[in-house]
């Protein structure tokens, strides 16, 4: 985590110039971005998706055109604050794309089945969710924190990540996600 402590005195204000430039170009933190849409970088082949030993096998369970994944954690405040919008996501997608097949799946990353149940009791998301107590999906899906939303598009037998959102998920983020998906129709 980047941490800057700048001396601010009357005769040293000029130090703020390089510091502010550094902050502007580095974002909030170097390894824990507050909010970021990362370019599509993830591609998963058919062998990964359908290999029963692969964690993807547990996620890509349908032949849907698009697979949307919401990653959250019971103990994460930003996830609690995003939960209502995760529910709206599940409701909005079939309306926005009535002629496409979507799979929406939630993952309680680091949560036991019990903890996932506690989360869903308070925030009924309305779609299937998996508990991932051992954080099995963290590395394969490059999850750096929660909440995270990923959208994959099926391309033949393979899957391509087309959208990634990290950080609190607001309604305008949902609209951005819908816009992004439309670009791939």
């Amino acid at each position: 985590m980047l941490s800057l402590k700048l001396p601010i005195r009357h005769n040293t204000g000029w130090l703020a110039i390089p510091a502010s430039l550094l902050l502007m170009f580095s974002g909030c933190q170097t390894d824990e971005p507050a909010k970021q849409n990362v370019p599509s970088v993830s591609h998963h082949s058919a062998s990964e998706l359908y290999d029963e030993g692969s964690p993807f096998h547990k996620i890509f369970t349908s032949e849907a055109d698009f697979v949307i994944l919401t990653f959250f954690d019971l103990y994460c405040v930003a996830c609690q604050q995003s939960a209502d919008n995760f529910k709206i996501l599940g409701e909005r997608i079939p309306v926005a794309f009535p002629d496409k097949k979507f799979q929406v799946t939630g993952v309680g990353i680091g949560d036991t089945e019990f903890e996932l149940g506690v989360f869903l009791r308070k925030y009924a998301l309305g779609y299937d969710c998996l508990a991932d107590p051992e954080k099995e999906f963290e590395v394969p899906f490059a999850i750096r924190g929660t909440p995270t939303v990923l959208v994959f598009q099926r391309r033949g037998p393979d899957c391509q990540e087309i959208y990634r959102h990290e950080g609190r998920f607001r309604l305008d983020d949902l609209e951005q996600m819908v816009t992004k998906v439309k670009e791939y129709l």
Partner: protein
């Protein structure tokens, strides 16, 4: 020249909301102090299940002074002692209890949180976490007096990470003096609450 550059610096910092993402290792993205690995337990409580809980009076964030013997007139009381504000595990544990609130209601129990931090610190910390539904009490002065009454004051002046369930007779029904480095499993606490209902 200093003013405009400082303005740019200030607005740049302010544009970064520190609470929008929880990292995998630290589920609340707060300005967290990392205490490192600590001795799992550094005290030996003299209290046992079946004994009367020590009564206490502590100031709370709501501005009221809270007395245990008054609280148990209405409901069973779950006390969550956590070692310190602005530390990783504590900043996961209490937001988790926000989600579990219905389980406390069903067990006719209330939850109170206690740390040895002072009230301004507790105010800032809980606000940054988005608030908590339960009363938060400060055991700051005399420092750690209540933690000591419960036998869970560590040698460095903070409390253990401990849970006590006290029934409406004032009798301790559950004790978990937990490894300070780990979050107590929520299912064990809720199971204990369900036992209380029977």
């Amino acid at each position: 020249m200093a003013f405009p550059t400082l303005f740019i610096l200030g607005t740049t910092i302010m544009s970064c909301n520190p609470q929008v993402m929880c990292t995998i290792s630290e589920p609340v993205d707060l300005p967290i102090f990392q205490p490192g690995y600590l001795d799992p337990v550094d005290s030996q409580t003299h209290l046992k299940v079946g004994q009367k809980a020590p009564d206490f009076l502590l100031p709370s964030l709501s501005g009221e002074e809270v007395r245990l013997s008054e609280l148990i007139k209405d409901k069973a009381v779950v006390i969550t002692f956590v070692p310190a504000a602005w530390t990783p595990i504590c900043s996961e544990q209490w937001p988790g209890y926000n989600v579990a609130e219905p389980f406390f209601e069903e067990a006719n129990a209330i939850l109170i949180g206690i740390t040895v931090d002072n009230l301004p610190t507790l105010h800032a910390w809980t606000e940054e976490m988005g608030g908590v539904w339960f009363e938060v009490l400060s055991d700051f002065y005399p420092h750690g007096k209540v933690a000591a009454q419960f036998g869970i004051l560590r040698s460095v002046g903070m409390s253990e990470r401990a849970l006590f369930i006290i029934d409406q007779e004032g009798i301790i029904q559950y004790i978990d003096v937990h490894d300070i480095n780990e979050r107590p499993p929520l299912d064990e606490l809720i199971h204990a609450l369900e036992t209380l209902k029977k």
